[in-house]
């Protein structure tokens, strides 16, 4: 059974189905992956602006430097560029932290203790949907917990899970995007799923 994209105007395209040759096709590809790429960057960086910047940089580099590459390579290249961009951000942040005095104590607390999942729940355009409000709330809470669990995963495990299952890449392509062996991808994936299962079980979530 194929998954469907939540937005009916934006059909779900898997990375294997997109031949990239023209500007239009590149546009379709970017439109298909941009939301997932943004979420992926957000899981890693935990900052909306940084995530947006990372996705924009990755799109720019792909269009500028790799648009003439064979279409089959482009999804892998985009993911690789995105991962490198996120890693560069962390390197810069680390260097900045060495030069900047710790100011965290002066800032207000942004801990998740007071965080309410409802605050992130956006109103759908089809607000009169058939789903009951209690179901919507439960879905939002489950989603929040899943995303929190993903954020807690080690970087490589999260990458492997996202590439293999969310981006629907095969093992070889995911290995290319991650710059590691196929065996490592399988190991990271397996560990990620086990860790997610444990984290969700601890929160009392049964999918």
């Amino acid at each position: 059974m194929r998954r469907t994209h939540p937005s009916p105007t934006q059909p779900r395209l898997t990375t294997r189905q997109i031949p990239l040759a023209t500007r239009k096709e590149l546009s379709d590809f970017l439109a298909a992956v941009e939301r997932r790429a943004y979420k992926q960057a957000l899981f890693a960086a935990r900052d909306e602006q940084v995530a947006l910047d990372a996705v924009q940089d990755a799109m720019m580099r792909l269009a500028e430097k790799y648009s003439t590459r064979p279409s089959a390579e482009l999804p892998m290249l985009f993911q690789r560029i995105l991962q490198n961009t996120i890693r560069d951000h962390f390197r810069r942040q680390k260097v900045r932290a060495l030069w900047t005095p710790p100011m965290s104590s002066l800032r207000g607390g942004e801990d998740g203790d007071d965080h309410d999942p409802l605050e992130t729940l956006q109103a759908h355009s089809d607000s009169n949907s058939r789903e009951a409000p209690s179901d919507q709330l439960q879905q939002a809470q489950t989603l929040e917990l899943i995303e929190e669990a993903l954020r807690k995963l080690p970087v490589r495990q999260r990458q492997a899970f996202v590439l293999r299952y969310w981006e629907e890449m095969d093992v070889a392509t995911a290995a290319g995007a991650m710059g590691c062996s196929e065996g490592s991808v399988k190991t990271h994936c397996s560990r990620a799923i086990h860790a997610l299962a444990v984290l969700l079980k601890d929160k009392g979530i049964s999918l």
Partner: protein
């Protein structure tokens, strides 16, 4: 529930979450996509001539290593190397010049240093 089924269920929730992204964020993503597409380059047409030379220059100038920080570090390295070379050349020259000057300005004739008798006398008198 096996691994594949769990992964599928998680992904279903994640897909649903894509529909909850703020409109402002979606607009920014769209703008980023448009900006990226403006940089889209078609495949270069084959041309006659020393294409490799231009390509090499392009690769060098557009390399990710060719940025201000690396250039600054390279500049500092070159300046330090030049400084070390200058220092190494300057110090021995000044030492030799000082010895020469002391020999020439001394009342003792230079031939005295070559005389073995003078050296023996010098040792004896210092004892």
């Amino acid at each position: 529930m096996n691994e594949q089924e769990l992964a599928k269920k998680i992904v279903q929730h994640l897909d649903q979450g894509l529909g909850h992204i703020k409109q402002g964020t979606l607009y920014k993503l769209q703008s980023a996509r448009m900006a990226a597409l403006d940089r889209y380059r078609k495949a270069p047409q084959p041309v006659f001539g020393l294409a490799w030379a231009g390509d090499a220059a392009f690769r060098l100038s557009h390399s990710r290593y060719f940025n201000a920080r690396n250039m600054l570090a390279l500049g500092l390295l070159l300046v330090s190397l030049i400084g070390v070379m200058y220092w190494q050349r300057a110090i021995p020259t000044s030492d030799i010049a000082e010895i020469d000057a002391s020999l020439l300005t001394s009342e003792l004739p230079i031939n005295a240093y070559l005389d073995s008798g003078f050296e023996a006398w010098l040792k004896r008198s210092s004892q």
